[in-house]
């Protein structure tokens, strides 16, 4: 594996139907690293992936894969000559091909014979435990099954970079869990780099080595999951990465971000309990205190009624910068 970044985009600008969708994005993904692109819909996640894949041509900036410039230097390299695979949000399975032939497609394009390509495809499908679906067409598969076939097709490409375009957006919660587990296991096997677009904070934080936060076609923050969760650069980043309360700092120095686990009930600060939600493993309490409203998460079932006067203690806070915060 080369020392060059697996993916490197620099000052990327993409215009689409007259509107500027990406406005100067620079990112690096090292070999073997998983980068999550986290942003609300319309923030440019898909556009960034499509530009890296070669479905869109940037109007400025460069895309490099493994040290090789594929866009931004004359005519962009077409997708089939870039060393990457894509898992699509809507699966993008070909309705006229069986699951087996779909997974065999990349090998066929590499020049393998039909029998050889099918053998390889079946081996991959066996590893993903979907070999029993080999003869089915997409119309005969559930969403989760379709997406695993899509994943198998991407694996069959044997690329250095995987691009995931919100692959779990259309999946039910439990199917999503199964798919993500499979995804992580396969990625460990291959050691390839991956860029994973999602609008789900939990998914991004749990999956990635680093998280890039995107808003209106610009990067807001890039860092490890801990960094973006514990030390978001502004309120937007804070809200994007998880539940967040904003209160006045007790010392009057500005505003403070408090995650639900950063304060606990019981203590010196007086407050009124405005709402209580039992969530199973834990309960959320919304308290109103002179410093502002904040959410406090405690293990187990709720111990207070709405309207009760409670005390609470601030364990940790993160000062938010900017007028936005």
């Amino acid at each position: 594996m080369s020392a060059e970044p697996a993916v490197e985009v620099a000052d990327l600008v993409v215009q689409y139907a007259g509107a500027m969708v990406l406005r100067g994005v620079s990112l690096r993904v090292q070999p073997g690293e998983v980068l999550a692109l986290l942003g609300p819909s319309g923030s440019g996640k898909s556009t960034l992936l499509h530009t890296v894949a070669g479905f869109l041509a940037p109007s400025a900036g460069t895309v490099r894969l493994g040290g090789r410039t594929v866009a931004g230097n004359g005519r962009p390299l077409p997708p089939e000559r870039r060393d990457l695979a894509v898992v699509f949000q809507n699966y993008a399975l070909w309705p006229h091909l069986s699951a087996l032939d779909t997974v065999a497609y990349p090998a066929r394009r590499r020049g393998a014979g039909r029998a050889q390509a099918r053998r390889e495809a079946l081996a991959i499908m066996e590893r993903l435990r979907i070999a029993h679906l080999a003869d089915r067409r997409p119309a005969e598969l559930s969403g989760g099954e379709q997406q695993r076939v899509g994943l198998a097709r991407a694996l069959a490409r044997r690329p250095s970079v995987y691009l995931f375009d919100e692959p779990t957006a259309h999946l039910d919660t439990h199917v999503r869990g199964v798919f993500l587990e499979e995804l992580l296991a396969r990625r460990r096997d291959t050691g390839a780099a991956a860029v994973y677009a999602t609008h789900d904070a939990e998914e991004a934080l749990g999956l990635a080595d680093r998280v890039a936060l995107l808003r209106d076609g610009q990067l807001v923050q890039v860092g490890t999951p801990q960094q973006v969760y514990d030390e978001p650069v502004d309120l937007f980043a804070a809200r994007l990465t998880g539940p967040a309360s904003v209160i006045d700092a007790p010392d009057g120095s500005g505003t403070l971000l408090v995650r639900p686990g950063w304060a606990r009930l019981g203590g010196p600060v007086e407050a009124e309990l405005r709402g209580v939600w039992f969530r199973g493993p834990h309960s959320d309490h919304l308290v109103r205190s002179p410093l502002g409203e904040l959410l406090i998460r405690e293990a187990g079932a709720p111990r207070h009624q709405v309207g009760a006067r409670v005390g609470w203690t601030l364990v940790h806070g993160w000062p938010l910068a900017g007028p936005d915060g």
Binding site: A19, F55, P78, P79, E80, A92, W94, Y105, R109
Partner: protein, 559 residues
Amino acid sequence: MPPGGTPTPARTSATVAVLAVLAVLVALPLLRLAQVVWQDGDGDVLRVIGSDGLGTAARNTVVLASGVTLAAVPIGVAMALVLRRPDLPGRAFWRAAVLLPVVVPDFVLGYSWTQAYARAGFTDTLLGLSWAGLLGPLGVWLVLVVNAAPLVYLVVAVGLAARAEPDLERAARVSGAGSVTVLRTITLRLSLPAVSAAAVLVFVLTLGTFAIPQVLGAPAGFSTVTTRIYADLSIGGDPGSFLEAVTLALLLVLVAVACVAPTDAFLGPRLRASRPADAQGTPSSPERRAVRRAEAAGLAGYLFLTVALPLAALLLSSVTGALGVPPTPGNWTVDHFRQVLTPRTVEALGRSVGLAGIAATLLVGLGGLVAVVESRRAGRATASLITLTLVLPGSTLAVALLMTYGRWLSGTLTLILLAYLAKLWAFAHRPIAGALDRLPPDELRAARVSGAGALTAVRTVALRPLAPALLGAWLICFLTALHEVTMSSLLYGPGSETLAVVVLNSEELGRKGPTAALSVVLALLVVGPALVLWCVLDRLRTRRAGPPTVRAGGIAHVG
């Protein structure tokens, strides 16, 4: 499709009404046709079928239809592939321009080719170049191909929009397939049902086509089944030629049904099962601009030679004083227009417009009726029957209606109206049914649970989105009825000529300038509504695609 599969009394009576109209317009006349051949034919039928001229005409027809299909399908598919590219320079213009050969009445197209390329035509006068083969089988074939290619394009473009989503092609590209391989293994495979359907449609429509073979083939002695029926019926009074016409009409419908019924049964579900058409295709990946420019240039050249030049030549000969005079401004005159715009012509024009308007209005009603009935399982069969009327050759229908109702209605506009209703029903039904299909059932359900009755729900929720489809269907019927000449040329009588018939008769009398002038009038008459239709369809398209959903920073507003 509207919710509810339970048969209500209203639905049942609608089904009965549809079947009754179908029986009166189509089934009864066809049965009468068969009966006449059976009774009056005796042993003569075999002799008629065995006769030389008829055999030639039948063979010509089948060979012509096959040849036109073979050539028109690749051209139409190529058009659909090229015009799908959003980065094609001038795409909106080209998408309208390629439809010109179907918008212009087919005999106007055929006649315009003679004005452009035949002896004493435009290229002959200007460059000394003329094509003797234009009047004959080759010319008929070529102009029919030009006429049929846009139909293939339309069918395949819809199929591509519905099935070949950009992501499916992107997935192939990123799996290592080059653009040609993607075309071969994905795009064309996905559009195969649409291409097959288009091929069958072109084949059957060419079997029944009349105007172009009549204008270009008949003068050279090249006869097809339809031109022979016309010739047989023009003779009049001769029982032998009448029997031949009736036999040919029956033969034509049998061939058409034999081609369409199996393909409709086989392809119908495949075409319907496809996903609803979503937004127009985005590029699956950027391609070289030079390629796009070359494609646009090719398209421009094709349209110039096949449509623009002939129509320009037609316009020139309509304003040029005399035969053989160069078409320069010095020789321009409006004499031909003054000459042809007699009270008789103006009356015919009024009749054409009135007839087309009435037919279109009734057809939209009938089409809507079928679309509503269709949501029941039994209604599906009715809808298939109505689709079959689309490929019912006009000549057959005209002869059959003439024999069934001719006793009372011979030579009247009512008979022509009946023929239009029978022939164009499917034209009205398809767009309305399509729009109903696209209407999300939850929208009607939401209206119902919000307190609207069944009719109120349709009026308040469904009618607005359906309005463009209804208008589109009306305009399609109006336009087609306006151009129609196959049936009206067989059914007209004194005082019921339509404008199209007047043009055809003038052409047969060999009056070059006046015919050109009349053709120009008819073409202009058609282009106006066609432009309106284009705008309506464009609106339909953008509505379906929906507004761009950019909800940037949506989360920032929460809390």
